[in-house]
Symmetry: C2
DNA sequence: CAATTACATTTGTATATACAAATATTGTAA
DNA sequence: TTACAATATTTGTATATACAAATGTAATTG
């Protein structure tokens, strides 16, 4: 993808700005592709992400602040995100017995089951997007990305 | 920024998935930083982007589909985005005389004036985010990003 | 132990976004 | 020239997100 072509500009873009725009374009593309892949499951990327985190807990319940810390894109409202997953029967929420301010969130077996199927299409999509890259290039890209100031 | 640390995982992430997550984290960081920079102007990144496109038109009016084509993140509703800018007095909208299905959108002098001030903080933010990079590295990063399938 | 502070989550409000349907206008073809 | 298709935008609806305020619970301190 050529940046100038994509945003239809004839003017030359300074290298720094071009880099920022480039990253944003690629990230939007990734989002779009993943959203399409997950569409048949009627689930958003964020919801998928939460399910994956919960699975990674290996049965150990997570609370909202844990989820927030581990999410790729920080949500300002994890409560409502979890609400949606409960409605779908993919997670359960209980008040934490040791600290009733907290909630314990677990993935259900139904959630685990669906997640397994989502994994397939997501992995396939990820591989498709990156099949132009050699392993060395992927490593190089990760190293460069590390230099961004967070 | 270390990916594993940021998403608090102890498990090893496959290189492809790690790359995708890395890009998303960096893009979210960019978004956040730009949003903060633009906050004093009470304007969203998308709105800022539209103003920049309109300025690039050099007086030539743009219609909605032109804006859509040139925007970094495709909006599904440019109408309402332009509505907001009109409310702020930054743009004007008129029905296109040659084709009354279209609208002609122009940036106002007030919009141009504000945009000039926004440019400063945005450029500063962009430079801050990238000051770890040499010119060679930026070029290298752009080349790698080009390999993403769009 | 009452008051205060800190913590964890929920709720309210405004705006953003995705998608589909509706509206208005223009072009075209029988 | 009427009917139909194509184009360009707007509107409706549902969900997502950002931010601030509210709620409920726990810990601390005088």
């Amino acid at each position: 993808m050529n940046v100038e072509e994509r945003i239809k500009t004839s003017e030359e873009i300074p290298l720094e700005r071009r880099t920022i725009i480039h990253i944003m374009l690629v990230a939007n593309g990734i989002n779009e592709k993943l959203a399409i892949a997950l569409k048949p499951f009627d689930i958003s990327i964020q919801q998928f992400n939460v399910l994956r985190i919960l699975r990674g807990q290996n049965g150990k319940p997570a609370n909202l602040s844990t989820l927030n810390k581990r999410m790729v894109s920080k949500m300002s409202n994890t409560t409502r995100l979890v609400d949606k997953l409960i409605l779908k029967g993919y997670v359960e929420r209980h008040t934490c017995p040791s600290n009733r301010r907290k909630v314990e969130i677990n993935i259900t077996s139904k959630g685990l089951d669906r997640l397994l199927k989502m994994d397939d299409v997501v992995s396939k999509t990820e591989t498709e997007m990156l099949d132009q890259f050699s392993e060395h290039e992927l490593k190089q890209l990760n190293l460069l990305l590390n230099q961004f100031k967070s």
